[in-house]
């Protein structure tokens, strides 16, 4: 394709990407280095029903208005917000490093900070769920593919259900089932023989539930992709493997998986990104006491009575960096392949 043709061809997509991806990122970047003006406070008399009048502090709007009009973006704070306790917590981590006598103590203090606590769960979740869902998706795809053709349609539909169910609804259903009065919860209570046994009260078990939910929810995606890939499997290769006396496992290991490998990379890429941004199950499971994620922190910053836009923006930028770091090995490989070809 000539460069000019390509340019015209790409223009609509390029414009959309600029509008919906590049501009929001720039806006978030700008918001993360600006913070609201320092508030001018004054004491006033507040009178409210049933209580009467008390002296309380409020913002002096007259004094603040001028500041706001002169610099509508707020005050420039540079990287201050990135470095504060709610984000990278540089000072706190440094202090913990100096004070901590043992590694244990250092980790304990590190994971007491919101961002690192969220990262510890997010990364555990990402690196456990992604391989597990690929494995499960592959197994389902192989199983469905070997079914009689009359059964296939029905099984595909049922296998896709977890993905069709809205994430929030799906997590709520599981949440109610594992409640100490829910079906799985009470079953566990009778198995454990402890009436106070609760899945939701234990951090470890809550993590397990979230990971199980994550695999359950995303495996159908891997299944669909792999199932499509299986339809293009070269029959002759498989037949020659059979003639050579390969067992079913050997056929899968040496013929099917190498054939599906590009798809595995694709699913891994998409799912690494998705799982790193885990959010709905944490809300659905009411799990914030045990597990948080970067997306949950953003939601929490914006959901309070006083919205922290700058803090949320800084976390968003850190999330983008996180995704970039996660995907860099794959991206570097793709780039090398590309360079190798030209």
């Amino acid at each position: 394709m000539r460069h000019k043709t390509f340019l015209w061809f790409f223009l609509p997509t390029g414009l959309a990407m600029l509008l919906f991806i590049a501009l929001p990122i720039v806006s978030v970047l700008v918001q993360s280095v600006f913070a609201p003006h320092e508030a001018v406070l004054k004491e006033v008399e507040n009178c409210t029903p049933l209580v009467g009048c008390v002296t309380e502090t409020t913002i002096d709007q007259e004094a603040t208005r001028e500041l706001r009009e002169n610099q509508p973006l707020g005050r420039f704070v540079g990287l201050d917000i990135y470095l504060d306790r709610g984000h990278l917590a540089v000072a706190e981590v440094g202090q913990a490093w100096v004070d901590a006598a043992t590694w244990d103590e250092f980790w304990h203090r590190l994971f007491n900070l919101p961002l690192y606590r969220a990262l510890s769960f997010t990364l555990t979740f990402t690196f456990l769920v992604t391989p597990l869902l690929i494995l499960l998706g592959l197994m389902i795809a192989l199983a469905v593919n070997s079914l009689h053709r009359h059964l296939k349609g029905l099984m595909i539909f049922f296998s896709l259900l977890p993905m069709i169910v809205t994430p929030l609804i799906g997590s709520l259903i599981l949440f109610w089932m594992i409640d100490s009065r829910g079906i799985i919860g009470s079953a566990l209570v009778s198995i454990a023989g402890d009436p106070n046994f609760s899945l939701k009260a234990s951090t470890g078990l809550m993590w397990v539930s979230l990971i199980v939910y994550g695999v359950w929810h995303s495996a159908p995606f891997a299944f669909v992709v792999f199932y499509a890939g299986l339809q293009t499997l070269p029959k002759d290769q498989l037949e020659s493997a059979q003639i050579d006396g390969a067992t079913r496992w050997q056929q899968v290991r040496y013929v099917v998986i190498p054939h599906l490998m590009p798809l595995v990379t694709f699913v891994a890429l998409i799912q690494l990104m998705d799982n790193f941004r885990i959010f709905e199950p944490i809300v659905g499971f009411n799990a914030s006491a045990h597990a948080t994620s970067l997306s949950w922190i953003i939601f929490n910053d914006l959901g309070g009575e006083t919205r922290q836009l700058s803090a949320a923006s800084a976390t968003s930028v850190l999330t983008i960096f996180g995704v970039a770091i996660l995907l860099s090995p794959v991206l570097v490989r793709t780039w090398r392949d590309f360079r190798g070809k030209t």
């Binding site: 939701k200 914030s288 009575e305």
Partner: protein, 413 residues
Amino acid sequence: MFVKNLAVAGAFAGLMGTAAFAAGHGCEIGARVSIVGNEFPAIQTVGAGAQECTGAEVTTNLTADHQKINVAGMQGNPAEYTSAIIANSSIVALMNEDVIRPLNDLVETHGDGLQPGQLIRIGGDVMAVAFMANAQHLMYRKDILEQIGVEPPSTYEEMIEAAQMIRDQGIMENPIGGAYAAGWNLAQEFNNMFLGFGGQHFKPGTAEPSVNSEAGVNALNMMKALSEYMNPDFLTHDSNATNAEYRAGNIALLNMWGSRAATQTTTEGVTDAVKNGHAVAGPMTVGGGSTPASTLWWDGWTVAKNISDAEAEATFLAMKNAIRPAILEDAEVAKQAVWLIEGYEPTDAAVGVFEAAKAGTTPYPMLPYMGLMHTALGNELADFMQGKESAEQALADVEAAYTAAAKEKGFLQ
């Protein structure tokens, strides 16, 4: 003939009366009104009351997520919403962003029928008109307390004693309920207990936190002691889940919102034992203090700043029409809340909130930085409740998290 004429005249007069009623008791407005607010029965009544006005369009957007949209919806010029229905915690966000207008002149010209106590005055300006009061207070099962032979608890210490007796007698395993879900609810329960122990969230006159104090540690230890008598899933139970436990007959004692008292036994699926045994009382004190471990709340409406004076006037009239004393003639409406409207007679469900007011319950702090403190408490206290860290460490974390947020928002340097 004369008789016939009279009948026609009478019918005509009757018709006129109905017409006047349909026109919202003569509520005639000349500009658009747009309301954003929370959604529960009392606020829906207010929204519907405003929509009775004729002459211009009145729209409402009542949603539990109101506080996520009201600031943004009032910052534009002209503002999308001409009125936001808020509580004493959420008015702060609107005042911080300077999006609501003082109502002094509107109260002067159209304020007849509003009681002085309804006017929320901040530094001499009327910033909101309150229509209902709310507070958390004790709800209990009188049948179960009779069974163990104790009076309804007036302190949290008595509550624990009663709970221990209920457990010992094998009536219930976990008799105490509480909205202890990590986040807003847990922070609110801490606020209650902290104020009950005489704590102050901030050093007077400043935005410096002071929760890491003796009162703070005592409050957390009391919450931990109570949680020993709660369903082990308590950190995931918000007010709805706690109410469900109560309605199902699984708990006997709880600190719950007064606004939920009237509907506590009217929902489907409430057992007869709960229906007959349900009772309310005032909030409890703690640690020998005299101030109840609770907070006093009001709900009211505001008028946006970035709208024309005509729209502001129309909004004021429509909102005033929504909370006119005549709405209390409907018995259902009268039960929906503890109304601050003239002529309101407390119902049985209102006892708890009135007791709270009488006992001198502290109002929820109306400070520009209280929202940040509430968020910090909600995020950092769960570790202590799970036994993962000490009360002092949890409170130190709260102060550190609050300080970072307050620096960002410009409240602390």
